[in-house]
């Protein structure tokens, strides 16, 4: 049974791995100053984050249409896939899962759509686990069981430079409530059960980094790790060097995709980690 794998650009799977495992990636849509473009095309991540604070109109994002998923599924089925597994960003935070779900309706059992409950590599590590399992020749049911286990072991935490972008995104109700905050805070957030939860805040980048390190260490032995950032590569490398984790897989350093970063703002630092079983 040949299984095809689909995800969207918010999974942040590095291009080399996308190619290696032949993963189909449907881009989310980013609207910058009135111009729509596919997430990852037209404007580089680095350029986007440098320009973000100065944009007069805050950028917005949109889910790709169900039609673009239909096209992708059809293409893969024509190319010989017998089953398709389509893994997407948390349905509570984005419409992408829903667009894929609606697109899948007309394909019946052949297309299986999974809500990762996560973003960035929190989702991407599920995609990679699936890709490796497919390469091993696993059956769809085995893969789904594996992903359930992986999903339960994922931790995604980030330190934002400011709450402003998250609040403006309208996706997180508590961010609005913290508007009355008087101190200049760097909020910490955790992506849990598909939602963005607050984990307090730090006053300085160094305090924030120490807390990230503490959280990583308390997570225990790791199977996979990605240090995530929004244009803060130097700090990301430093965090990884200080943690110096013992890992069976290569740790990733990822400048988070623009469709997510638009809601987080630049200079964010965090991680996606999968605990060892």
């Amino acid at each position: 049974m040949k299984i095809g794998l689909v995800t969207d650009s918010t999974s942040d799977v590095p291009a080399s791995l996308v190619e290696k495992y032949q993963i189909e990636v449907v881009p989310a849509i980013l609207v910058v100053e009135g111009q729509s473009c596919a997430d990852g095309e037209g404007i580089s991540r680095r350029e986007f984050y440098s320009r973000l604070p100065g944009m007069s109109v805050p950028p917005t994002t949109a889910s790709p249409s169900a039609g673009s998923f239909v096209e992708r599924y059809e293409k893969m089925l024509r190319a010989g896939a017998e089953q398709i597994l389509s893994i997407h960003a948390s349905s509570s935070l984005s419409g992408i899962f829903n667009a894929a779900r609606l697109a899948a309706e007309s394909f019946g059992e052949r297309v299986r759509v999974l809500d990762s409950g996560q973003l960035s590599l929190g989702s991407g590590f599920q995609v990679l686990s699936a890709a490796e399992a497919i390469a091993r020749g696993a059956l769809l049911d085995e893969i789904l069981a594996l992903l359930e286990s992986v999903q339960a072991r994922i931790r995604v935490i980030a330190l934002l430079d400011t709450l402003e972008y998250l609040r403006r995104s309208g996706r997180v109700s508590w961010a609005k409530a913290m508007l009355g905050g008087f101190l200049d805070l760097k909020p910490m957030i955790e992506l849990k059960s598909g939602r963005v939860e607050k984990m307090g805040a730090a006053r300085t980048a160094r305090q924030g980094k120490e807390r990230l390190l503490g959280l990583l260490r308390e997570t225990g032995t790791l199977e996979r790790l990605a240090v995530l950032h929004t244009n803060a590569e130097g700090r990301a490398r430093q965090l990884l060097a200080e943690l110096n984790p013992a890992l069976s897989t290569e740790p990733l350093i990822v400048n988070v995709t623009t469709a997510i970063g638009a809601h987080l703002g630049p200079n964010g630092l965090g991680f996606a980690a999968v605990k060892a079983e």
Binding site: A62, L183, A205
Partner: protein, 562 residues
């Protein structure tokens, strides 16, 4: 055109429309009218975009979805309405953008299902199509929420079903449907609290209304290219809110009450006003109208002159917005503390604060109760106890924020039946650091442990005036000198606040840290505080320097270094 002749023209057109069969080509024109009218009012819909997952602007997303639907059918020659509807559905699905766009595409999918194999649109098949539209729309979302476009789709279907009792004519049913959509949209804030809070109706629902209303306007022959000018009841005019939306350059607010000599032509009225300014609102009550507008200085008399020519002006108010904005900003500083609402089972933090500014900061970080007190006014065990006894949870953390209050806090812990942990913060900066790691839903002991650990992440400086001559820790102090304490230990005496502040920062090795926060005491004039802050900024260009109004007595400055 007078009202009568316009009415006659509309009646004639209506008759003409009713005499023609509603086939696929007529359906195409309806879809186009829905698209055009939605696009005309796109900004109105975008402006409503406050809820829950604004995946971009609702109006724009719905227009793009409709555009894709129309592009699919533009060149189609189908005569059968069923085939045309199927093509609309396909186009909408391919181009659906955002949540509202996706739901809109599902509505078209349902309509196409209801009209499958139909040659012409009839009353009964229109009602069936709208019922199918409702069903597919609800299935189109993972977790349906009422008070949204879904509710409007539901109410519209119900109205069509009910109308079928009286008529089989699709146009008459569409009239009922549009009226029901209007009512349903206005009702959305009653179903969805977040809309009510924001004072808006649901944007997706409003967008659906425009699509349906555009079809009806096309049938009536009403123009589709001018946005809807609206009149609201005078009581509903929210001029306060308009105040907060002042655009640069619009310096004056003009409000005119008037009785028009003839019935007001709203389109024309809005059109003229739009040439003069922004934030236009028109209200009506008892035959009297109220016009509100923001204009640049040079236009401040124009709205009055214009309205003068239309009837009798009863009242005019012109205000300088910039001056008024300052006033509002001053007034809106909250006197009341917004303390965290703790639910049973959550952790409540009770904190001691010596000044209103510091209390506000604690409250903004999630403190559930605040006990006034500090260096010279240590609160009693009873006062601390009273602060948390009535909170609806039995998990409590106390932050004394002063070494002389720790014992009273521990005594309060020992006499209550609640589970209480005292996190022994000795200074305000320590207490604030502890607040930053608070997770109200966590496990009490674990959270307290994190808070205790955080106490060491900050250094505290305090600057005050000596009340008597003394020598402690090798520092000789004269009465009236300014003294500085670092983490509770006397480290120096100086003659001025800025001198004490700088020497203190030096002793604290502030250059090794990232952030210096100055909490200004009640006795230090603001200008003096700003001067001290500027000196600190100059001396520590690498560090961030933040100034906060602390409002504490006796201590000119509390300083956190982290």
């Amino acid at each position: 055109m007078s009202v009568d002749s316009a009415g006659a023209a509309r009646a004639k057109r209506l008759k003409q429309m009713q005499s023609l069969p509603f086939d696929g080509q007529a359906f195409k024109r309806l879809v186009e009218a829905g698209l055009v009218w939605l696009r005309t009012n796109q900004q109105i819909v975008n402006a409503l975009n406050v809820f829950p997952v604004p995946d971009g602007d609702t109006g724009t997303n719905m227009v793009l979805t409709m555009q894709s639907a129309y592009d699919e059918i533009r060149d189609l020659g189908h005569r059968e309405v069923g085939q045309m509807a199927a093509a609309v559905s396909q186009g909408a699905l391919m181009g659906a953008r955002g949540n509202s766009g996706v739901i809109l595409s599902q509505i078209w999918r349902g309509i196409a299902r209801g009209l499958q194999d139909e040659e012409v649109l009839t009353g009964p098949n229109l009602a069936r199509a709208l019922a199918d539209a409702r069903d597919t729309a609800y299935k189109g979302v993972v977790r349906p929420v009422e008070g949204t476009i879904l509710t409007v789709a539901k109410d519209v279907a119900a109205a069509a079903e009910a109308a079928l009792q009286e008529t089989q004519d699709p146009i008459e049913i569409l009239e009922k449907v549009v009226a029901a959509a209007d009512v349903s949209v206005e009702h959305t804030p009653e179903l969805l609290p977040v809309l009510k809070q924001a004072g808006v109706v649901d944007s997706g629902g409003k967008g659906l209304f425009f699509v349906l209303d555009g079809m009806l306007r096309y049938i009536y022959g009403d123009p589709l290219n001018e946005p809807l000018a609206s009149v609201q009841p005078i009581a509903a005019m929210d001029l306060e809110k308009a105040m907060h939306e002042v655009e640069p350059g619009q310096d004056f607010e003009v409000v005119v009450d008037f009785h028009p000599a003839e019935e007001l032509d709203l389109q024309k009225f809005y059109g003229e006003l739009e040439k003069m300014g922004t934030s236009i609102q028109v209200g009506e009550g008892d035959g009297m109208y109220r016009m509100h507008i923001h204009v640049p200085t040079e236009n401040r008399y124009k709205p009055i002159d214009y309205i003068m020519g239309m009837g009798t002006i009863t009242k005019v108010a012109i205000e300088n917005l910039l001056a008024q904005m300052d006033e509002i900003n001053r007034q809106s500083e909250p006197d009341r503390l917004e303390l965290a609402n703790i639910e049973p089972g959550q952790i409540a933090v009770v904190t001691v604060s010596p000044g209103p500014g510091i209390s506000r900061i604690f409250a903004s970080l999630g403190a559930a109760a605040i006990v006034e007190g500090g260096q010279t006014m240590n609160p009693s065990t009873q006062e601390i106890l009273a602060a948390f006894e009535n909170l609806p949870t039995d998990k409590v953390i106390i932050l004394p924020n002063n070494k002389n209050i720790i014992l009273a806090a521990e005594a309060a812990r020992d006499v209550t039946v609640k589970s209480v942990v005292v996190v022994p913060s000795r200074t305000i900066p320590q207490g604030l650091s502890a607040m930053l790691v608070l997770n109200p839903d966590g496990e009490l002991e674990a959270v307290a442990e994190k808070m205790i650990k955080s106490l060491g992440s900050v250094k505290t400086g305090e600057v005050t005036t000596a009340t008597r001559a003394v020598e402690i820790d090798g520092v000789a102090v004269e009465h009236g000198q300014v003294i500085a304490l670092l983490d509770g230990k006397l480290v120096l005496a100086a003659s001025t606040v800025d001198e004490a502040c700088l020497s203190l920062l030096e002793k604290a090795q502030a250059e090794e840290y990232e952030l210096i926060t100055l909490y200004i005491g009640a006795d230090l004039p603001r200008a003096e505080a700003n001067r001290v802050a500027d000196i600190v900024r100059e001396k520590y260009p690498e560090q961030e320097v933040e100034v906060q109004d602390g409002g504490q007595p006796h201590y000119q400055l509390i300083i956190s270094i982290e």
